[in-house]
Amino acid sequence: MSPPIAPRRARPAWLDPAFLLAYLLFWAGLSVVPWVLIDSATPVAAFALTLMSTVGFAFVTLPTWYLCRALPLRPGRASRVVSIHGAAAAVWSVALVGAMKLLAEAGGLFAGWHRLPLEVDRTQSALFGVGALFYFLVATFQYVLAELQLRHEALEREAALAVLAQRAELQALRAQVHPHFLFNSLNTVSALIGYDPVKAREACVLLAEYLRGTLRAQDQALVSLRDEWALCERYLKVEALRLGDRLRVDVELDESAADCLVPSLLLQPLVENAMTHAITPVDEPEPLRIRAKRRGARLALELENGIDPAPRPRDGGLGLANVRARLFAQYGKDASLRIESDVERFAVLLDLPVSAPNTEAAP
């Protein structure tokens, strides 16, 4: 079975490496601001100041992330959002200016930049304004990121749902036992009871084994070709009781091919398809030929049957479409279903990668 689909947990965007890099570059660029504002600051000092603020700022921006999460943008709530963010921006900027003062004092004490505390004092209102501006920039940035993340998650969920729906559909396709097959088989058993009770009992056992096999197959994604063929064989034996010598089957199953794993109920719809179109409606049908060969890492399956000389409109192709869809679901483009047909014969050729039982065990 394929792995379950779990939604990714939401986390602050700044933990993203790409975002962190962009963030650092942004701040490096911003070193220009203290360099211009603070007269005594050399470029190196300005960059050091900014770098220190950056690390602090990274933690300081974290509240905006939670605040933006807590205050999603909804129509009619603009004033509430603006006032709360306004208050937060004021508090945040005061904290920023305070932090810069502390840093400047530290710079004055330990690095001998004695004019730094004075410069910070002189420009504190400008710093406050710049801080508030940054707060709003960061908040806007958080909202944009949150929105993008929501869209991304919605798309992912949609894709996951599509996969689930497809899986359910395939399950349903796999499960179908045609009621007509059951009704006809029961009629045959009812007839056999009258003139061949031993065979009637045999028919009951075959029918039960076939039905049990299809039920079991619904829980298994992959089965060995041997098991898949055993299921088809039961189906064909039940049909043979009904059709007598009209049904002839010619099978060549290589020992190496029989061990390969195939999607469960891969062959059965193809066999049933051949029965419906080329055996049941024909008076003296050609035999049904089934071949399986392993060629290196590939498995080749071939089903060949004759053609109904008086074809009638029928709901056909469902079996083939079903098998094609299941092959694609399992192997993508690595497997193919090809049809060869002319006036005398109809052949379905499957080509799929070999999955050996020991490397990819069915759950």
Binding site: F183, T280, P281, D283
Partner: protein, 252 residues
């Protein structure tokens, strides 16, 4: 058709041997009903019906060659028909063609007995089924007739709709021209027109239904009328209203 002794003659038609044997076994409990034959497919059924003139057909629907509904269209209307099938989707169509009963496989001997009682009741009263109903029954609902199964003299001819060139109507029978031959059948042109695909078959004249894919060109022919020249050179008269219908389908 009823024998003085009150014996009823039954023909069993089914392509599956167990199904035929089951019916024969069930019928042993009804000594007044004697099985006069068993047919393995539709064609055999029609042949045996002609030879043996049974009172009743126990008729499977899905069979090789021609199916149960097509058989019904080829046998005398006095013969009672009881369908036996595993498919319940034909029931409505079966009663449209006045089948006496419709037995869903598997069924019990008692259920067959009920069907025979109904047959007894209905015996002798002919099915007054008209051709269009039969034609409708011989195809899936919402689908056009894909082939004609008709009796031409002693022969039964299966004509795919695509191989019909044109049909000429004469009173209560029609002549179907197909693959360089023609077959007569007791139907009317209206019925055929109603059953065949209208995008392929156009009533170009009071007495002609034409397969448009055979038309090579349309030429003037006498006073105000035209004729369609077919690809093989044969011609079919086209009336003024017929020409309009033909042009509408051809889109010219």
């Amino acid at each position: 058709m009823t024998k003085p002794s009150g014996e009823r003659r039954i023909l069993i038609v089914d392509d599956e041997e167990p199904a035929r044997r089951l019916l024969a076994e069930y019928l042993r409990a009804y000594p007044r009903w004697s099985v006069i034959g068993q047919a393995k497919n539709g064609l055999e059924a029609v042949k045996l019906t002609q030879q043996e003139q049974p009172d009743v057909l126990l008729l499977d629907v899905q069979m090789p060659k021609i199916d149960g509904f097509e058989v019904l269209g080829l046998i005398a209307p006095e013969i009672a028909v009881v369908f036996t099938t595993a498919f319940d989707e034909y029931a409505v169509r079966a009663f449209e063609v006045h089948a006496v009963d419709y037995l869903l496989k598997p069924f019990s001997a008692e259920r067959l007995g009920q069907a025979l009682a109904r047959v007894e009741h209905r015996l002798g009263a002919p099915r007054s089924v008209c051709a269009p109903v039969l034609a409708r029954a011989a195809r899936e609902p919402e689908r056009h007739l894909e082939r004609l199964v008709i009796r031409d003299g002693a022969e039964i001819v299966i004509i795919p709709a695509a191989s019909i060139d044109y049909v000429r109507g004469q009173d209560d029978y029609v002549e179907v021209f197909h693959e360089a031959r023609s077959s007569l059948t007791q139907q009317t042109l209206q019925h055929l027109e109603a059953s065949l695909d209208p995008r392929q078959f156009v009533r170009v004249h009071r007495s002609y239904l034409l397969n448009v894919s055979r038309v090579a060109r349309i030429e003037p022919w006498g006073q105000g009328s035209k004729m369609a020249v077919l690809k093989d050179g044969r011609t079919v008269p086209v009336s003024r209203s017929g020409e309009a219908r033909l042009r509408a389908v051809l889109g010219v």
